[in-house]
Symmetry: C2
């Protein structure tokens, strides 16, 4: 059993396979604007059924339709997570061709959602279909979970998982995304950081006063500065009381994974215009901090006068936007609690903490069957060892599905280092798209217990 026939089908049907993706991209499924949600859900449901998936569209608590279904049978069950909604296409005038008029140019396909995440969704359904055509039947049970509000915070996902957990339980999960890095190497990820985003704000006096009163009136900007300066020190160490106690120390395996991980420091420094990273870090310690440690980032500061020239004002109000990227075992609720106690202990009871969207971290070992199958499938497809990331620096609702149900996870896909997710001119290379079908077919094969 070789993949000759499977690969031949992908090659022969290339135009049709890409054409199906284009049809899906033409639907402007902008969840933030509630556009084309039902229409896209129906198209995805139909396509899943044509791939042989016994699927239905389910809603919980007034949320958008979630497509859930299964196909095949075997000792193992794989869960495929994708989302059919996309980011708003703004700024429109920066697109070379319209975001919902998918266009091929120089070997790339442009359009909103081709990379994030309609492309992988479609490629995986096509791979299931082609695998059955090439090999007669699937070597495992495949379950799908396609949600329609990932780009606006997956507000109904936890409730969905609670209600329909029985239909999505599995032995492994493939998450939505993956890409080739700037050097063209396929990458695999084993998890995502979580996030906790807060507004810290206070008011020290009723309204702005003349700055000559700075002698005796409390200044909101100063109180904010003093409070913030206790959260992280100049060595970039998070000093929120007790927070770092909840951070898992890197294991030998983690360090081995990171040592093997290529990270082009010079290129990163060039892109961001810096002479050095924080603390002058380099090599494995740099990678440990980037991939396995939490952050405490001031995303915004606002107080008083910000215009040209001078205004002699003592600000009554001040606020900071602060996000924490979370690694196990940090959670948004824990961080908020630690932050509240930390501020209170230092007398900053007047600083209000307002929470925005939060996500738990989700991190999985590199030696699970699903991770090993992904590595093997990518190696066979691309002819090179994939780069394995222990934890992506970004965030997503992975924990709501995989941690909730105890499903080890892996991520790989059809993107590239310049795919411009969430930005104008989002793209995938057409050959990368077809290669993801080939890789996913092999992944089904290996995770289903067969040999390449």
């Amino acid at each position: 059993m070789t993949f000759d026939r499977f690969d031949a089908l992908v090659r022969q049907r290339g135009a049709t396979l890409v054409g199906e993706l284009k049809d899906l991209i033409r639907l402007p499924t902008v969840s933030a604007q509630d556009r084309a949600i039902d229409e896209t859900a129906r198209a995805v449901l139909d396509r899943a059924r044509r791939a042989g998936v016994d699927a239905s569209a389910e809603r919980v608590d007034g949320g958008p339709p979630t497509i859930v279904g299964e196909t095949g049978s075997g000792d193992r069950t794989l869960l495929v997570y994708d989302h059919y909604d996309v980011q708003p296409p703004d700024p429109l005038d920066e697109w070379r061709t319209p975001p919902f008029a998918p266009t091929e140019r120089d070997g790339y396909l442009y359009g909103r959602g081709v990379s994030d995440n309609k492309g992988n969704l479609m490629a995986r359904l096509q791979a299931i279909e082609l695998y059955r055509e090439a090999f007669g039947s699937l070597p495992l049970r495949v379950r799908v979970l396609f949600e329609g509000e990932e780009e606006i915070g997956s507000d109904h996902l936890a409730a969905f998982v609670a209600k329909y957990g029985g239909r999505i339980r599995a032995d492994g999960c493939i998450w939505e995304a993956g890409y080739k890095d700037a050097a063209g190497r396929p990458t695999i990820s084993l998890g995502l950081k979580g996030i906790a985003y807060f507004d810290l704000r206070l008011r020290s006096i009723e309204k702005d006063a003349h700055s000559s009163m700075g002698t005796i009136l409390p200044n909101a900007a100063w109180r904010l500065v003093w409070a913030l300066s206790t959260l992280k020190n100049e060595r970039d160490e998070i000093t929120v009381d007790g927070l770092m106690d909840h951070v898992r120390k890197p294991t030998k395996d983690d360090l081995a994974l990171l040592e093997a991980l290529p990270y082009d420091e010079e290129e990163m420094k060039r892109i961001h215009g810096v002479a050095a990273f924080v603390r002058g870090l380099t090599g494995t310690p740099l990678k440990v901090k980037h991939f396995l440690e939490p952050t405490c980032t001031i995303c915004g500061l606002t107080s008083g006068y910000s215009g040209m020239g001078s205004k002699t004002v003592l600000p009554a109000a001040a606020s900071a936007k602060v996000d924490f990227r979370l690694v196990p075992e940090l959670t948004p609720a824990l961080v908020k609690d630690l932050l509240r106690k930390h501020l209170d202990r230092r007398g900053f009871t007047d600083i209000e903490i307002a929470s925005h969207h939060g996500e738990l971290p989700s991190r999985w070992p590199s030696d699970t069957p699903v991770a090993k199958a992904a590595v093997e499938a990518c190696r066979a497809t691309y002819g090179t060892d994939p780069v394995v990331y222990p934890l992506m620096a970004g965030s997503g609702p992975m924990a709501q599905v995989c941690d909730a149900l105890g499903i080890p996870v892996v991520g790989f896909g059809s993107g590239n280092a310049g795919s411009a997710n969430h930005a104008p001119n989002e793209n995938v290379k057409v050959s990368d798209y077809l290669d993801h079908i080939r890789a996913f077919g092999r992944f089904l094969h290996v995770f289903g217990g067969r040999s390449l």
Copy 2:
């Protein structure tokens, strides 16, 4: 020699005296907009000459006309400093009557400049004229210095003083302003704080990055917070290296002056909506801090995202607007130098310090002849001891004149606690205006060596 005849003249001519002020207010002398400057300078020059002042209009380096002149003779010379320009009248729609159409209402005169500072300028010229009419001749030499760009920073004043110092030297100076406090007590001031206003700004990376990069990229907002937190501590103590070493300690006389100074703490707390002043200060220590200590005030903070909701951004740039109110012996140049060294010593060489307008502090003893004459004149006019402020919390170009030439200074005038200088519906009480003429006549008398 009593003031019966002088006071009778003020009473009889009341309508004419106020009418002359109204004529001056009708000229829209907005220096920021270069409006009616020459016209007003000519009107002031004419009025000074009619009062017997041998005056001329002089310009230095393309600045506006400065009216300079003298009249009378005697052992002592008094310098009268006022400015004939006014603040812009905006916001216009908040004026009950137009700013340049002076209007009497319920015993008050409304119009831009009636308090700051055309009113005192006119009242003092009128007092000189009436004094001569009542007493035959002035008991001293009076010199006048009326500038036309105080509201935009007095950019040519230092050069004027350097060139025309011989025409304005004096044994004492009366500064532009003064007012009755909220309890209706006349006040006298013996100086002004200086000011140094800076933009502190830095850029840590080329452009804003995704906040997931907060692990390893330097964050401009954090660096700004860390730097600011070294400038003043939570006890509201300025911790810029060496700065407080340049601050004069209060003398016994200072403390006596402040102990006698009424300061309505409860009313101030009510106005600003605070439960307590910084450090929980009260009584004389509160007054010492307010009147005799410098400030370091964050007037504005700007970095990253300040809109609704969340944006996961790592800011490339951050800036703070910071003003220092200066007491002797602090100067803007000294503060900038100390600040630069303080930041450099802590590794914040990347923080740029940009200076805005600065003014030196100017502080004078309470036992100078000019100060004693002011107290005696006010006591005689108002029938009560005036409240004496050692140093006003605000700033002005006093040092450019008085410290440059070594002229002790005092300030009192026709304003009230609600005069709304720089704001809509600027006003003086008509009776306060006429009382300032009466007080100024007595001040000439006493400073000229005569007894009341």
